[in-house]
């Protein structure tokens, strides 16, 4: 009799510990999503500002410069941090993922011109600035990858039956993936202005 009660109490305790461990894990995952999102936001902003520096540097022809400046403007006019604001709730004209992808494509169009680097090399500060743009773009690629990783883990933890049954994620909304075109490397087929 006593042993039965001990077993039941022990089982209840164990179950409680397990559930609170799961809930704690989901909570920690949400916190990691927040950190990853901040990191992604920072890298995107950094990329925008370096792209603007390139646009106004006088190194490029004004048409390429204008193209980049307009794309940077597009990323700034979308409120909300990366991937947080659901589509349809944004005050801006274009969702951030699309605006950031536009900037990627504008940068790619500039960088993939045949002989682009040769045309700039030797100009004051050109090599450093180009390297900085590429580094910033690569950081966006990394930050987005890490962000989407932790979003996937979080969504998976939230989707488990126990977590759903006991509402372990509380009122926190499921984090959203941030999808965008972030590759500066052009496809082989699209060599612009080629002859």
């Amino acid at each position: 009799m006593i042993t039965d009660i001990v077993i039941v109490v022990a089982a209840a305790l164990l179950a409680g510990v397990y559930v609170s461990w799961r809930a704690g894990r989901i909570d920690r995952l949400h916190a990691r999503v927040e950190m990853a999102r901040t990191a992604l936001d920072v890298t995107l902003l950094r990329r925008s500002s370096v792209a603007m520096e390139l646009a106004t540097s006088g190194l490029l022809d004004p048409a390429t410069g204008l193209l980049l400046a307009a794309a940077v403007y597009g990323t700034r006019s979308t409120p909300g941090s990366a991937g947080l604001v659901p589509a349809g709730q944004q005050g801006g004209e274009r969702p951030r993922d699309l605006a950031e992808s536009d900037l990627t494509r504008a940068l790619r169009a500039a960088f993939s011109q045949p002989g682009f680097r040769t045309s700039l090399s030797g100009k004051d500060g050109a090599d450093e600035l180009l390297a900085e743009v590429e580094a910033a773009a690569h950081q966006v690629f990394l930050a987005r990858k890490f962000y989407n990783d932790v979003v996937a883990a979080t969504r998976e933890a939230r989707a488990r039956p126990l977590a759903r049954l006991l509402r372990l994620s509380g009122k926190a909304q499921a984090p959203q993936f941030f999808e965008m075109d972030d590759s500066l490397v052009a496809e082989k087929s699209s060599a612009p202005l080629g002859r």
């Binding site: 646009a55 022809d61 410069g65 400046a69 307009a70 940077v72 403007y73 500039a110 202005l193 002859r195």
Partner: protein, 387 residues
């Protein structure tokens, strides 16, 4: 005069700016001027003899949509070579605020430069952000033309400076002859309409109400309606069921089909309730020689010479439109008279007239100026090594 014209958009893509440049260039050539147009174009696109291709345009995101533009240092060197070889007296750039050939031409050239602004830009902040990038090119412009009052307002408010308004012309000879669509106008007569179906100011609902009056009186009469609409079905449902099969909706039509539509009807109706500064569609109908019944807004009163070149009715008054259209349908002699008067009146809006107005801007900016040349700012870019 030797005139160099820079086009920002791909020549092989249909568009208002390209068409404007083509019509202007051809009208100037007809006047005996030497014209060369530089435009992005695919290498295998057949080009008119006066167009120089600047290589394939690259699709890039710009202002929230994808545009096909030419930019980069290779485009710079092509523009520079075109300017050097052309030895132009005047350089005429179109839409220089777009990142393409026109902006590059401003940047590498010195000498008399005329710029035409086509679009009205409602957002101004983007210009504040991007203007520093384009300032060097923009400040060289000696004379500006806006194709509409709205485009001029954009310029005055956002960039500063002023512009003369010279509206688009009508290439009247392109509208003069065309085969009617099969089966039109038909024995019972037909009335035509062109324009956005769901834009209230275009006045389609006035015409539909008038057709409710005319339709039962004239069993064979039909309506031919061409133009885009978000919901074409809804348009038909505004009519009583018995009349719906006598209304034909063509949707958006090509330029060629537009001319055929104009030649497929006995009477063309412009029921606009306002918001027109000129009424290009009405002018095109005049050029096709189709008798017109139009609302008496100022723009139409002017182009139709107070009713001499077309029947006018009280704006927004469906009963008056039904009366005016009915009278015109019944009177072939009056139709012929109005048609002839319209053809004569529209000659004032022909491209040849517009081209002369543009040419007088050229004459003003070349006064006391040296011919167009390549500046130093363009030449610290490498020469076109690939050609």
């Amino acid at each position: 005069m030797k005139i160099g014209i820079a086009c920002p958009y791909s020549w092989d893509v249909p568009g208002g700016v390209q068409q404007h440049i083509r019509d202007l260039a051809e009208a100037l050539i007809d006047e005996g001027h030497e014209v060369s147009v530089i435009s992005p174009a695919d290498d295998d696109t057949p080009l008119p003899p006066y167009v120089v291709g600047a290589g394939r345009a690259v699709p890039v995101p710009y202002n929230g949509s994808v545009a096909r533009l030419s930019f980069g240092f290779l485009s710079v060197s092509r523009v520079r070579r075109w300017i050097r070889d052309g030895a132009f007296d005047v350089l005429h750039v179109h839409e220089p605020e777009i990142p393409s050939l026109s902006l590059l031409a401003c940047w590498v050239a010195s000498g008399p430069i005329v710029a035409t602004v086509h679009t009205a830009i409602p957002r101004s902040r983007i210009l504040l952000v991007t203007y520093p990038v384009v300032r060097t090119g923009m400040e060289k412009i000696n004379g500006r033309i806006a194709v509409s009052e709205a485009a001029r307002t954009t310029l005055v408010e956002h960039i500063g400076g002023d512009a003369v308004v010279i509206p688009n012309g009508v290439a009247t000879r392109r509208y003069r002859k065309a085969d009617p669509l099969p089966g039109w106008p038909g024995p019972g007569g037909a009335i035509g309409f062109l324009g956005r179906l769901d834009e209230p100011r275009k006045g389609l609902s006035v015409l539909l109400k008038a057709f409710e009056i005319l339709g039962p009186q004239r069993p064979g009469l039909r309506l031919l309606i061409a133009g885009p609409a978000a919901d074409a079905e809804e348009v038909l449902h505004r009519l009583p069921a018995g009349l719906r099969d006598r209304v034909v909706l063509l949707g958006q039509v090509s330029e060629d089909d537009k001319v055929r539509v104009l030649h497929s009807v006995d009477v063309f109706c412009s029921p606009n309730t306002g918001g027109e500064s000129f009424g290009i569609v009405t002018a095109e109908a005049m050029a096709a020689g189709v008798p017109i019944v139009a609302s008496d807004i100022d723009a139409f009163r002017q182009v139709l010479r107070d009713g001499e070149a077309g029947e006018l009715f009280a704006t927004g008054d469906a009963a008056d439109l039904a009366r005016a259209a009915g009278r015109l349908l019944d009177d072939p002699a009056r139709q012929a008279r109005l048609s002839a008067a319209a053809l004569a009146a529209v000659a004032d809006y022909d491209w040849s007239v517009v081209a002369r107005a543009v040419f007088s801007v050229y004459e003003t900016v070349v006064l006391g100026s040296t011919p167009v040349a390549v500046t130093a700012s363009g030449s610290d870019f490498p020469q076109d090594g690939l050609s």
